[in-house]
């Protein structure tokens, strides 16, 4: 059975990293297309990315309004069927607000916006973003956020750690996140959210190409027909 391989990059009013994500994916040979948030039909896509930016101006709370867009209902269905979904920065915030990932992102510990490049360590390969990157790999990745301070309940944290759902950790935590968490996956590994921007680390000319192995994992998962290497674990 054939399946879709094009990546849909959701764009809300106020998103701003959608072009960069498309460019980085296309650089890997993966077709990608921007989808407007009011579109409720995402049937043509093999993977979905919620990119960075300030969806709906981050008004009320980052992601708080975006979760109600028609495209998010379709994204939820897609994720529940095991489709690969990636939320980067503001996209991570949107996915937590939508309940697709546990926890929340608070303001940075220093109460300032941070744009810099940090070292992250792959903490688990059990996700569509890290399947091809061995745990322990250190990557130099840009971060760019005001609300990147990940937090969750003690119970959620224990579960995340126990199930290998923490996929990326900061080596020198820039924002005060719980457990130095930079990125997490859902239980089945097909939905991933992270604060660093892998698409910004897509060329040595721009200072780092360390984001490419992550995006390649995501593209590979789509090529396999979704669901990641853990597809067999996707119940029902």
């Amino acid at each position: 059975m054939t399946h879709e391989t094009t990546v849909g990059v959701l764009c809300f009013p106020g998103s701003n990293c959608e072009h960069d994500v498309v460019a980085a994916l296309e650089g890997l040979g993966a077709p990608a297309r921007i989808v407007w948030h009011s579109d409720s039909d995402l049937s043509g896509f093999g993977g979905l990315v919620v990119p960075g930016g300030f969806a709906h101006g981050d008004y009320l709370r980052p992601g708080a309004i975006a979760r109600f867009s028609p495209a998010m209902d379709a994204l939820r269905d897609f994720a529940e069927r095991g489709g690969p979904v990636l939320g980067i920065c503001n996209g991570f915030q949107v996915l937590t607000e939508a309940g697709l990932l546990p926890g929340a992102l608070m303001r940075n510990a220093g109460m300032r916006f941070i744009c810099t490049t940090v070292e992250c360590e792959v903490a688990s390969s059990s996700s569509v973003l890290t399947a091809a990157v061995p745990a322990g790999t250190v990557l130099r990745l840009p971060v760019n956020h005001y609300e990147g301070n990940y937090t969750c309940s003690a119970g959620d944290l224990a579960e995340l750690e126990q199930n290998g759902q923490v996929v990326l950790r900061y080596r020198d935590n820039p924002n005060g996140s719980t457990g130095d968490i930079a990125g997490i996956a859902n239980r089945t590994g097909n939905v991933v959210g992270l604060m660093p921007h892998p698409e910004r680390a897509s060329s040595a000319l721009l200072g780092s190409a360390d984001g490419l192995p992550l995006l390649q994992s995501f593209v590979d998962a789509i090529a396999r027909g979704g669901g990641a290497s853990q597809a067999s674990r996707v119940a029902s």
């Binding site: 106020g14 701003n16 072009h19 960069d20 460019a23 300030f54 981050d58 008004y59 300032r112 000319l205």
Partner: protein, 765 residues
């Protein structure tokens, strides 16, 4: 005319204008008489308010315009020079850049976050109104010294404002400059530069043409914010009444602007608008009159159709409100439905507020303001009169009476037997505290971001415009210390440094834009400073082959009777023909030989050392030999460009300009960034901190190659030391140690002098 402007009832727009109202609006009696001459009668309230804002210093350049014509503006690459919303310059491959810099000083002094944020919003609109996608911002910030609590508050708020708007609207802030000096305590300066990239065929001008075309207001609703901002705020001095002027500061909404950018760029690339103009200073008064005047047409404006944020706004308020995030587009009636559909998709409001009309039978294009279609005329005037008939002043010019005496003061000397570690440490500043709050990476173009090289380096690309291998170098520079003792030579040196900065990334300069921040033009000495600065800028731009394609003049920068020091800010854009590898950063490798290129350093006059350490503000600035400087810039650009190709020459390991702070500061900055020390020798002690002429320091493993190249270009070259070790040590000609500091001390000072004063606790990273 169809019914004389009326005066009736209690409606403020129709009431008789009380005698003397013009003075409260910032107009002189002579200027008021000029309005009566233009109209042939007394103005209505709406008319008077429109002339007041349009004839303000901020909009009319009435004190500076006569002098600005001196600036060289021509070059084969120039598509549009000064006078448009932005300068436009050809960069090949069918592409062009649009660039502009503007001040938002007075609003930032009163409300730093909103003042700085709306400054960013305003400059962005100047760029995308040309059809260009904004891809880079830079900020030039000037505040009081950071031992002062209010200056810390202002800088914190300004940086948060630039970050809050720029990050959110989705345009990276890739560079800038920060100056702290006592003179900016009461009147900080916030200058914001923006650059956009466009396909040449998408260039759109702000002209209304085609009788019957619709005048469409896009974006935010009009409110009571920023009423008279240009006249009340920007065109008069501060005298301690800041809080009372807060209603004249506009409020920023970057989310609205983001949607407006996307909607406008789509409208422009689809050819759906005939002309477009942003609404900035003077609001609708400016946008309607300028578009009508540029098109040589009349325009009917229906105030009742302007979407409002508040009820019961008067016509005066609607025409002069500076509510942000609005654009005025001229659209054919056939296209309007499509325009509205595009706007609806981006959730941008689009309202038809008027129509373009043939010029009146006497050949004059008039602006006619009504309170509803076919309703009473609240104002009517020749559209061009608001701009063209504005007063032009040749204000008195006088050099300071004590100029000769001050220039005769001999420059300070440095103790040849002393240690100067503390002076050096006090001058080190790491601006990372500022730029780490700015998104400087968006659009995947940033090859050299802030702090990495002397200019920011971007790939020449934008969403929808694929990269074809070229690079863009951008530098924003100012040095009020130089300009304070010699505005002419100081401004020339500022231009020289900026051109050298882009050369240090392998770029040839394409164009320059300037923001001239000065004090009260009614002071003859301020006018002397302004004219001298324009002369110095002209000389340097001519000698270095850089056209001035746009500018902004900000006057009345004064508080409690004291004018700021003359502060011309320049931004230079340069082109890197082939950007396959990143240009060398500010850095060196252990064992590198350090080569200093350029003419020998002059005196300490005007240097940061003289001002900040010695408190010395007199003397004669060392002049810059512009012909020698051009040779230096060409040499450096050539050497660096050879490192930017697909197969880098590998000769240069690092490059850094030597200017502000002098050689000692340059050495310390490179040592700290490289994590590697150096030992160096100066020809005389003053060379540690002397700033002029601007020079370049090269780190190389092949000094002979550099010396040969320098000789070929007729540039002086001197080996000054070697990189390596954990300390920075500089000795004098007699071998005496002048500076000896461990790297850790340099790093601590870098952080303490800026971040340490602004963060409650220095952050852990």
């Amino acid at each position: 005319m169809t019914g004389s402007p009326q005066s009736a009832g209690s409606d403020p727009d129709r009431a008789v204008v009380p005698v003397g109202t013009h003075r409260a609006l910032g107009l002189t009696d002579e200027e008021y008489a000029g309005i009566e001459r233009v109209l042939g009668r007394k103005p209505t309230a709406v008319e008077l308010s429109m002339y007041a804002v349009m004839w303000s210093e901020h909009c009319s350049y009435k004190s500076s315009r006569a002098h600005l014509s001196r600036l060289p503006t021509e070059g084969p690459q120039v598509i549009l020079g000064p006078g448009e919303n932005a300068g436009v310059v050809d960069v090949g491959d069918g592409l062009a850049i649009a660039l502009r810099i503007e001040s938002h000083n007075h609003p930032s002094a009163i409300e730093p976050y909103q003042g700085a944020a709306t400054g960013v919003g305003g400059i962005l609109r100047d760029i995308f109104t040309m059809g260009a996608r904004p891809i880079a911002l830079m900020d030039g910030l000037f505040v009081g010294t950071l031992d002062d609590a209010r200056s810390r508050y202002l800088l914190d708020g300004i940086v948060r404002g630039v970050a809050g708007y720029g990050n959110s609207v989705g345009v990276p802030t890739i560079g800038g400059q920060i100056t702290t000096a006592p003179g900016y305590r009461g009147n900080p300066l916030v200058n914001v530069f923006c650059l956009g990239l466009l396909r040449r065929e998408h260039l759109v001008l702000a002209a209304a043409s085609g009788a019957g075309n619709l005048v469409v207001l896009l974006g935010s609703r009009t409110g009571r914010d920023g009423i008279g901002g240009v006249s009340v705020l920007a065109s008069s001095e501060f005298a301690g009444e800041g809080a009372a002027k807060r209603p004249s500061v506009q409020v920023a909404d970057p989310y609205e602007e983001k949607r407006l950018i996307e909607a406008c760029l789509e409208l422009l690339s689809a050819g759906l608008v005939v002309g477009i103009q942003d609404l900035g200073g003077a609001g609708l008064a400016c946008a309607t009159s300028e578009t009508a005047a540029k098109g040589g047409m009349s325009m009917e404006v229906d105030l009742s159709a302007v979407p409002r944020r508040e009820p019961a706004m008067s016509g005066v308020e609607v025409m002069t409100s500076e509510s942000q995030e609005r654009m005025l587009a001229v659209v054919t009636p056939e296209n309007f439905a499509t325009v509205r559909a595009v706007c609806e998709r981006f959730e941008v409001e689009a309202a038809v507020i008027g129509t373009v009309a043939e010029p009146d039978p006497d050949g004059v294009g008039r602006l006619r303001i009504r309170d509803e279609v076919g309703g009473a005329v609240l104002g009517e005037m020749p559209a061009a009169s608001l701009a063209d008939d504005a007063p032009r002043y040749r204000r008195p010019i006088a050099e300071p009476g004590d100029l000769a005496a001050r220039r005769a003061v001999r420059a300070a000397r440095l103790d040849p037997a002393g240690r100067h570690d503390d002076a050096l440490l006090a001058m080190l500043v790491d601006p990372a505290w500022i730029y780490r709050q700015y998104d400087h990476q968006l659009f995947l173009n940033t090859v050299r971001g802030p702090g990495e090289a002397d200019a920011a380096v971007l790939r020449l690309a934008a969403p929808g415009i694929a990269w074809q291998g070229k690079g863009l170098a951008l530098s924003c520079d100012a040095n009020p210390g130089w300009c304070a003792i010699d505005p002419r030579a100081g401004t020339a040196a500022t231009v020289a440094e900026s051109v050298l900065n882009v050369a240090c990334t392998g770029a040839r300069p394409l164009a320059l834009v300037n923001c001239l921040n000065f004090g009260n033009p009614e002071h003859p000495e301020v006018m002397w400073q302004l004219t001298e600065a324009i002369e110095g800028m002209s000389e340097a731009c001519e000698a270095l082959g850089v056209p001035v394609v746009g500018g902004n003049v900000s006057l009345y920068n004064a508080s409690d009777g004291a004018d700021i020091e003359p502060t011309p800010v320049v931004a230079v854009a340069g082109l890197i023909e082939q950007l396959a590898s990143p240009p060398p950063a500010i850095g060196w490798q252990n064992g590198d030989t350090l080569v200093l290129l350029g003419e020998a350093a002059g005196s300490l006059a005007g240097s940061r050392y003289a001002r900040d350490v010695l408190g010395e503000r007199d003397g004669s600035l060392s002049p810059v030999d512009l012909a020698a400087h051009l040779r230096l810039c060409n040499l450096v650009a050539e050497l660096v460009a050879a490192e930017c190709s697909a197969e880098p020459a590998g000769v240069l390991h690092g490059v850094h300009d030597v200017a502000d702070g002098g050689l000692a500061v340059a050495l310390a900055e490179v040592a700290w960034r490289s994590g590697s020390g150096a030992s160096a020798e100066v020809a005389r002690p003053e060379e540690l901190f002397a700033e002029l002429p601007p020079r370049a320091m090269i780190a190389t493993a092949d000094p002979t190659a550099i010396e040969h190249a320098a000789a070929d270009h007729g540039v002086a070259a001197r080996i000054i030391g070697r990189a390596g070790g954990g300390r920075l040590a500089v000795s004098g000609p007699d071998g005496a140690i002048l500076v000896d500091a461990p790297l850790a001390a340099l790093g601590e000072a870098m952080t303490a002098n800026l971040a340490g004063r602004l963060d409650i606790a220095p952050s852990a990273h």
